[in-house]
């Protein structure tokens, strides 16, 4: 009998090895992604466990109650407002800085590092630092006083708290997203710019005609990733305002966290999580659709 394996058995022979090597990744995906998602959906349809008695089925009633709760609706509204402002702002600033630091100007490397630096600081640490800066008797108001401007409430003022949170998350976010865009800029073929210059295209025309279309893939990634990460902002809110004043910074993740870990209302928290996941999915789908339009 020949010992040379046939083609099929050789193929099958590799399969167990391939599968075993894939197993850690598959296990991780199931344990860390699929199982929690399924559990959140299941929990969201059942009552909150009040002790040792088993929970019972409440179905969509959970969602109805949640969407009827003015506090939850307020947090959806605040999250929407936050998203509408923070995402375009961060991407525009990151893009402007990326284009600026990509130019051959003196000190661009150093500036780039300085803008990127906050990324290396954990969000919670930077929130603590900003808490001191924003204190009514803190350094920011000290600077304003020097300039003859009246002291501001910042985090304690319902009108300024959300804007203050936007400053904190952008301080970190802008540098991070900028690095992706700079990487994209480096990949653009310089001859395209040369050709455009020869054709008499100005700075603005080159930016619109070459930089933006060539950067589309990186911009698409940054847009989607930034939107999702801003939808999930939590630590700065929890540390700086706890959702206040008057619920004006109660972003959705803070609201869900409080339901789960302060009030121990697991059912409502799971329903909130499912709603966040659905919103995130919807945003990603719409953005991909928009970005794939007009592409080659």
């Amino acid at each position: 009998m020949s010992t040379v394996p046939t083609r099929t058995s050789r193929r099958l022979g590799d399969l167990p090895i391939a599968l075993t090597f894939l197993l850690p990744a598959l296990l991780a995906a199931v344990l860390l992604r699929l199982w929690p998602t399924a559990k959140a959906v299941w929990d969201s349809l059942r009552s909150t466990a009040l002790g040792v008695e088993p929970t019972h089925w409440v179905g969509v009633e959970q969602y109805r109650t949640l969407l009827d709760d003015p506090a939850f609706l307020n947090s959806l509204k605040i999250t929407l407002l936050f998203g509408i402002i923070v995402n375009p702002l961060q991407i525009a600033v990151a893009l402007a800085l990326a284009v600026l630091f990509n130019e051959r100007i003196r000190g661009a490397g150093l500036m780039r590092t300085l803008v990127f630096l906050p990324v290396a600081i954990p969000q919670s640490v930077s929130a603590v630092i900003w808490a001191v800066a924003f204190r009514p008797d803190g350094p920011l108001n000290g600077v304003l006083a020097r300039l003859g401007i009246a002291p501001q409430g910042f985090l304690t003022s319902p009108g300024q708290a959300l804007a203050s949170i936007i400053v904190v998350v952008s301080w970190i976010g802008v540098g991070y997203w900028m690095m992706f865009l700079i990487a994209g800029l480096k990949e653009i073929d310089p001859t395209l710019y040369e050709a455009a210059s020869l054709d008499g295209a100005g700075r603005w025309a080159r930016f619109r005609g070459i930089t933006l279309p060539q950067l589309r893939r990186q911009l698409a990634f940054v847009l989607v990733a930034d939107t999702i990460s801003n939808l999930l902002v939590f630590a700065p809110v929890q540390i700086l305002t706890g959702g206040g004043p008057n619920g004006r910074t109660d972003l959705i993740m803070n609201n869900v966290f409080e339901r789960a870990y302060v009030r121990a209302d697991a059912g409502a928290a799971a329903a909130g999580t499912v709603i966040v996941a659905v919103i995130a999915l919807a945003i990603v789908l719409v953005q991909f659709r928009l970005l794939s339009k007009g592409s080659d």
Binding site: A28, L50, A264
Partner: protein, 430 residues
């Protein structure tokens, strides 16, 4: 080739196991082969708090070992709740924040301890036993209690030519006077007039409304009806709003930062607990005096109280051993003294020992001891014992923060009342 494949399979299998996070801590509870029992005690105290009492207990009971599991305060309730919800037998004893006892007891997370109550009668302060019972049953054994007092900066008041408040425990100064004197001190150079230790926590602010007859903020048979818009509450929190509005008290400060503002010498008055004194002693920049916790002029004195108790899990395998330890820690005079640490014990003999030791530390500490004795006996108001306390407290703490930051008190308390009406509904139907 074959060997390579075997190696690859083994490597991949090991990786998978590692990724799946296998491994278990092993068996912790119950008896081992030698007849020894190990009890697991979950608490949120500073390391070392129970070292003395555990050492003394283990010496007297060589077959019982106590293993501590310390969790951060903020995580204690959720940890206990999730583990007991899964009927985890690994927890034998755990610390119960007294206002949360009703919620735990009603959910079946606490073993009734009526036999221990019998032993405790006459030995433990009856108020402390009352606050740890629910529905007529004893569910945890009270360990410590707490109170509040007023600290003042002698130099700042002298500079403003303001008379220092009396340290006579029966003669509390009024909040109106504290506000006026604080303002004068600010005019004479103090940075702030008055700071509360726990600026937006119900524990410290409840007595403001209680002083004006506003009650705890909950009414009805099960204390599940919000009552935070009555005249007492409105008046108390309008005053609270105004001290921040006028700049007597500072906005935007966390509870963690408040003692520091008094300790560094820039603040005229500080409302806090006896535990703050140790930190102030370390700072040479502040010469301070103590007075009883203030009251409102038209009202009566009222002070915060209560602290930690310890309960036994109904799922524990070693309830008898756990009861033995709990009894030693709370009912036995020597045990309760060893458990005192920096807190006020509720065991009567241990309490007297505590006051004596405190008074021996000097004149100012003797005044603190007198204030503690008077306030615990005459003016203490407990937090409401109700299954809805956690929701109530979290709604109120947010309201206090908003009022401090400038929201009108009447409007915000009305809103809090509506939120509570909604949130407490789920307990009313149960």
């Amino acid at each position: 080739m074959h060997q390579n494949r075997t190696f690859a399979l083994t490597a991949a299998a090991i990786l998978s196991l590692a990724a799946a996070g296998c491994g278990d801590g092993g068996d912790d509870s119950g008896q081992d082969a030698g007849g020894n029992t190990t009890l697991t005690f979950v608490n949120a105290q500073d390391p070392g708090t129970f070292d003395k009492v555990i050492a003394a207990f283990e010496k007297a009971n060589p077959t019982i070992k106590i293993k501590q599991q310390a969790v951060p305060f903020d995580d204690l309730n959720s940890t206990v709740q999730s583990r007991l919800g899964a009927k985890d037998a690994d927890i034998d004893l755990y610390d119960v924040d007294e206002p949360r006892l009703a919620a735990f007891a009603s959910r079946g997370f606490l073993e009734p301890l009526d036999d221990l109550r019998g032993q405790a009668e006459g030995k433990i302060d009856p108020n402390a036993l009352k606050i740890t019972s629910y529905d007529g049953k004893q569910y945890a054994m009270p360990r410590w209690t707490s109170t509040q007092l007023l600290y003042f900066n002698k130099d700042l008041l002298a500079k403003a030519k303001v008379a220092a408040p009396s340290s006579d425990p029966a003669q509390p100064i009024t909040w109106e006077q504290v506000t006026a004197d604080g303002k004068k001190a600010q005019d004479a150079g103090a940075k702030y007039g008055l700071i509360f230790d726990q600026v937006d926590r119900y524990y410290q602010l409840q007595p403001l409304a209680e002083s004006l007859g506003g009650g705890p903020g909950l009414s009805g048979a099960d204390l599940l009806q919000p009552d935070v818009t009555n005249a007492g509450w409105t008046r108390a929190f309008t005053w609270y709003h105004d001290i921040f509005q006028s700049g007597v008290a500072p906005r935007g400060i966390n509870p963690e930062q408040t003692p520091g503002l008094f300790a560094t010498g820039g603040t005229a008055f500080f409302a806090g607990g006896p535990w703050n004194a140790a930190a102030f002693d370390k700072e040479k920049s502040v010469d301070y005096g103590v007075a009883p916790f203030p009251r409102f002029a038209p009202g009566k004195p009222a002070t915060s109280t209560d602290s930690w108790s310890t309960g036994i899990s109904p799922f524990s395998d070693s309830k008898d051993a756990a009861k033995k330890f709990l009894s030693y820690m709370t009912i036995d005079a020597a045990g309760a003294t060893a458990t005192t640490s920096n807190n006020i014990p509720v065991q009567k003999e241990a309490f007297q020992t505590y006051l004596k030791n405190l008074g021996a530390k000097g004149e100012r500490y003797q005044q603190i001891a007198d204030i503690i004795e008077q306030s615990l006996g005459a003016t203490a108001v407990s937090r409401p014992i109700t299954t809805g306390f956690v929701d109530f407290e979290s709604v109120m703490n947010k309201a206090f923060a908003d009022i401090r930051n400038g929201t009108d008190a009447t409007t915000r308390l009305t809103q809090a009342g509506q939120e509570l009406d909604r949130d407490l509904a789920k307990y009313r139907t149960k």
